[in-house]
């Protein structure tokens, strides 16, 4: 057995272990431990990814001695490795980018607890990515829920408590549905491992037995997971939760947590149900329609929002719609587009939330538009981040968003019938709306009274000094986020290759 095959299990276990250790560490050490652990996981994931690029075959890794069909398995392929890399990298950057806020929002005493949540959150996301076992997936879904709520409510003001309560309840409904669906599937097939279930499902489909319960369980899984990933209209909890949390929490929640459930959903669709059966299932149409509605409604809501973090949260609802639109198209190209969007949105939205934190810092902590005027000049990193984010969201070539749009449109023009028309129209409409509200933000954060020529220069110098004192971690995070975005935009061929190979490894 090749060493790299240990990486999935080890990274999950490492994160868990570190999380537990953090409990007894003082805040500062907890911080360093968390940073190192996540960085290590990130590096390990990269190693795994590289191994796949070098020709490593897809492999399964049994936890414990008991093998299939009873044992618990992890399974890794190209796409899983890439997703793990993305998740850990973005988590790391989000923590870096929102660090300044953590101190203010949580208080020194409890920061180590926050890092526990983060480590377990990442751990659960990686587990969702790697696991080959549906019940394990359920367990980690719940861990994910608890830790995600944990990082929201860590701020401990009225807003976050209420918001995390709503978030919790919605999530529990989702995971409850997921659980019952898993149980039904288990009852039907007698298996919990994805690959085994797929064989059974194919056999059941061929024989025509138990069609109804099978359909119901697929639908329940789809609904349950889309509930957790905030597909419109199940997204009412999201704006509150994402906007009230601390900057790095928002970044992770919007950028990653939602995506981990979508990743699981894709796995369910293509590894559990199977690529031959799923395109015939009505759940895809449902997801497409709601994805499209989400694209539009999210943007419409964002349009009227006067609070920068809520606006970003609504924007996430819209962007999640893109992902579901891609999945709902029911073609491999569509899923590939969804995967691209997962990557692009993860790094763009996380960056924007971090930058929003910076803007708030520069405006006395307020997140209302009226207080943010000129904030982009006061905090140029955030300003640049918003420019990049806007260009990416509109879909200017060189930026990640362009690749999303490219792949989604490519997928959309090739499917037939109403899906084609509807999705193309939705893309147009939502692009317009997105452009409007992001440019509106740009206009606000770069607005500012023109000062006289002499004072302007003095101010610039003063600003420069202030900038130097700013948090270098935050700046580093923003720069890396921008680079990540550009990297996706510039090296999209490789990304697409990875996704295509990865999806092929699913089958």
């Amino acid at each position: 057995m090749n060493f790299v095959q240990n990486i999935p299990a080890l990274s999950i276990l490492l994160l868990m272990f570190c999380g537990i250790v953090c409990l007894v560490l003082p805040a500062r050490w907890a911080r360093h431990l968390a940073d190192c652990a996540i960085a290590l996981v990130c590096a390990a994931s990269v190693v795994l990814w590289v191994a796949f690029l070098r020709g490593q075959e897809v492999f399964t890794y049994s936890m414990g001695e008991i093998g299939a069909p009873f044992g618990n398995e992890l399974r890794a392929g190209m796409l899983e490795a890439a997703a793990a890399t993305l998740f850990s990298a973005v988590t790391l950057l989000s923590i870096l980018g929102g660090r300044a806020h953590l101190r203010a929002d949580i208080g020194k005493k409890k920061v180590n607890l926050y890092y526990i949540s983060v480590l377990f959150l990442l751990c659960s996301m990686l587990a969702l990515v790697y696991t080959n076992d549906l019940f394990t997936a359920y367990v980690f879904v719940e861990i994910n829920t608890i830790t995600a709520c944990g990082i929201v409510m860590s701020k401990e003001d009225g807003y976050t408590l209420a918001a995390s309560m709503r978030y919790f309840i919605m999530s529990l409904i989702g995971s409850g549905l997921f659980l019952i669906a898993v149980s039904i599937l288990y009852a039907l097939t007698g298996h919990l491992l994805m690959s085994n279930i797929q064989e059974e499902v194919a056999a059941l489909y061929a024989s025509g037995q138990y069609r109804a319960p099978l359909q119901v369980s697929i639908a329940l899984m789809g609904v349950g997971l889309s509930l957790k990933s905030a597909l419109w209209p199940f997204s009412s909890w999201l704006p509150d939760a994402h906007s009230s949390a601390s900057a790095s929490s928002s970044a992770m929640l919007s950028g990653l947590v939602l995506k981990s459930f979508i990743f699981l959903l894709v796995k369910v669709f293509y590894r559990v149900v199977g690529v031959t059966i799923i395109p015939t299932h009505a759940i895809l149409d449902l997801l497409l329609v709601f994805g499209i509605l989400g694209m539009i409604m999210g943007s419409v809501n964002a349009l009227f929002e006067r609070d920068i973090k809520r606006m970003l949260a609504y924007s996430s609802i819209g962007q999640i719609g893109y992902i579901f639109c891609g999945i709902g198209l029911g073609t491999i190209a569509g899923v590939a587009a969804a995967m691209v969007q997962i990557a692009v949105h993860a790094c763009t939205k996380a960056m924007l939330f971090c930058a929003a934190g910076g803007l708030m810092d520069a405006s006395g902590g307020s997140k209302k538009f009226k207080d943010l005027e000129g904030a982009g000049r006061r905090d140029t990193y955030a300003g640049v981040a918003f420019i990049v984010g806007t260009l990416s969201m509109i879909g200017i070539p060189f930026f990640g968003g362009f690749i999303t749009k490219l792949s989604l449109v490519t997928a959309a023009v090739e499917v037939g019938g109403w899906r084609n028309t509807l999705s193309i129209l939705a893309i147009i409409v939502s692009t317009i709306l997105t452009a409007i509200y992001y440019i509106n933000v740009l206009a606000i954060i770069f607005r500012g009274a023109e000062t006289g020529p002499t004072t302007a220069r003095e101010k610039l110098r003063e600003q420069w000094k202030k900038q130097m004192r700013l948090d270098t971690e935050y700046e580093l995070a923003i720069v890396l986020f921008i680079l990540l975005n550009l990297a996706i935009g510039l090296q999209s061929d490789r990304l697409m290759d990875v996704i295509r190979t990865g999806l092929a490894m699913f089958g």
Partner: protein, 493 residues
């Protein structure tokens, strides 16, 4: 080497403009010299590129396996670049004076200069996606110019502009991707989609063409999509003049020309139903624009509607998909640029000197501002199409192209052209008459505070008037230059 030169021409004004707010000039003069130096350097470089480096191709970056960011200099793009690089320095000069009392001049000139590079980028794009890139950037870089004065009206106009433009660009993008999936490439190759056209693909490609036509048609102010242009008139006049009569709108027209002749080829379109649909829309817009201009009393809005109409002249010519159509369209693209920018400059000069914005308030202005209104008269007469001024030549060429093409849609266009000519005379000459002959009861004392604008404003005007006359009388060099596009677009010819 020349590839790098293209990049320099495009990036110089973009970077120069972007740096302007950072440099933060104290003195008006210093900023003026800086901006002028950049603009002039770009123009000179651009002109020397056009004259010396035709046929250069340059791939900047392989964005994906099928999509490159590439530049090239061909005659079609050169014509547009020529127009832009001649008019930009004039407008910049004009803008210095016009904006002298405005606030946020750094921002204004920053974006104004950036737009120059971006427009050149559109001209020198080597494939559809590169063009799309610059096309989108153009929207974004001109948006702050429209909302410059910060009033509510300006914001509304900005949002409207943004909505229309982004919608159009996205639609065009979808068309492009459709072409990419069926045609396999986004390069401007003269064979067009010939090899990709099969019975099965035909409808698909037709739909893609319409997507691109209406998508780019937004900037070209095609009828149902023109709404942003008149409202964008709230922008400062140099912007309205240069961008909304030349750079922005022409980039839409230019893009459609690219699509017609370089992505699809003329053979694909000639006689097809999509060509007819497109021609009808263009013809209708010609009439609609002039009628609206005639009804409009706001000076700049009237000119904006006139632009709506005239842009469709160009579109109409391009859509004929014949060699004559191509050259006629390009000719009108250049000439309309000259004429319309002159008209807008006069409108701006009037606003700047007197604050008057409605055509009904212009009684007797010719006496107060003789140079401006002299040029206005020349430009009006040229736009109506009176020989030997330049507007006649291009209109004539378009009409003759339509006659030669010989289809019913072509004749429809001629009819539209003629109706438009009459309305053009009506909406422009009424202003001339009003300005020169205010009639009985006019009190000259009411205009005693109105002075002719200074040379920053009048020099561009005079230069434009001279160009209009000279090019109208001796278009030989220009037509030859334009005829050079035929070798590319019609290789068999």
């Amino acid at each position: 080497m020349n590839g790098i030169a293209i990049l320099i021409v495009i990036m110089l004004p973009i970077l120069g403009g972007a740096l302007l707010p950072l440099l933060d000039f104290d003195a008006r003069k210093a900023r003026m010299y800086y901006v002028m130096a950049i603009v002039l350097a770009t123009s000179v470089l651009c002109l020397s590129l056009i004259s010396g480096s035709e046929g250069t191709q340059f791939v900047l970056y392989h964005l994906t396996s099928t999509i490159d960011i590439a530049f090239r200099i061909d005659r079609f793009g050169s014509v547009f670049a020529l127009l832009v690089s001649v008019l930009w320095p004039l407008s910049t000069l004009y803008a210095f004076e016009y904006m002298s009392h405005s606030h946020k001049r750094n921002r204004f000139f920053g974006f104004f200069t950036m737009s120059f590079g971006i427009t050149l980028g559109v001209a020198f794009s080597g494939n559809l996606i590169t063009m799309y890139l610059f096309y989108e950037l153009l929207t974004l870089s001109t948006l702050p110019l429209i909302t410059h004065d910060g009033s509510r009206e300006a914001k509304v106009a900005g949002v409207k502009y943004l909505v229309y433009s982004i919608a159009g660009a996205t639609a065009a993008f979808i068309g492009m991707i459709a072409v990419l999936t069926r045609g396999g490439s986004l390069e401007f190759n003269v064979i067009g989609l010939g090899s990709a056209v099969t019975e099965a693909n035909r409808n698909f490609l037709d739909a893609a063409f319409l997507f691109m036509f209406f998508g780019f048609g937004v900037k070209a102010a095609l009828f149902p999509l023109h709404g942003w242009l008149p409202t964008a008139g709230v922008a400062p006049t140099p912007v309205t003049a240069l961008l909304h009569a030349v750079a922005v709108v022409k980039s839409g027209v230019f893009a459609i020309g690219r699509v017609v002749y370089y992505t699809y080829d003329a053979g694909y379109l000639a006689g097809s139903i999509v060509q007819k649909v497109a021609l009808w829309f263009a013809a209708f817009t010609i009439v609609y624009g002039t009628v609206m201009a005639w009804k409009e009393l706001h000076f700049k809005k009237r000119l904006a509607y006139s632009t709506v109409s005239n842009l469709s002249y160009i579109l109409f010519a391009f859509l004929l998909a014949t060699p004559q159509g191509l050259t006629a369209g390009l000719l009108h693209m250049i000439f309309h640029g000259l004429m319309k920018i002159a008209l807008f400059f006069v409108a701006g000069a009037v606003m700047h000197q007197s604050g008057k914005t409605y055509v009904t308030e212009l009684g007797g202005f010719a006496k107060a501002m003789p140079i401006s209104f002299g040029v206005f008269t020349i430009a009006s007469v040229a736009l109506i199409g009176v020989p030997p001024l330049c507007g006649f030549l291009s209109k004539y060429a378009i009409a003759v192209a339509a006659v030669d093409e010989g289809s019913v849609s072509g004749y429809l266009g001629i009819a539209a052209l003629l109706i438009s000519a009459v309305f053009t005379s009506m909406y422009l000459l009424t202003i001339v008459v009003k300005a020169y002959f205010p009639g009985e009861g006019f009190d000259p004392a009411s205009l005693k505070d109105v002075k002719e604008a200074n040379w920053y404003m009048t020099l561009p005007l005079i230069a434009l008037a001279v160009l209009m006359i000279v090019l109208g009388c001796l278009p030989g060099g220009l037509t030859q230059f334009i005829a050079g596009t035929l070798a590319d677009a019609f290789p068999g010819l």
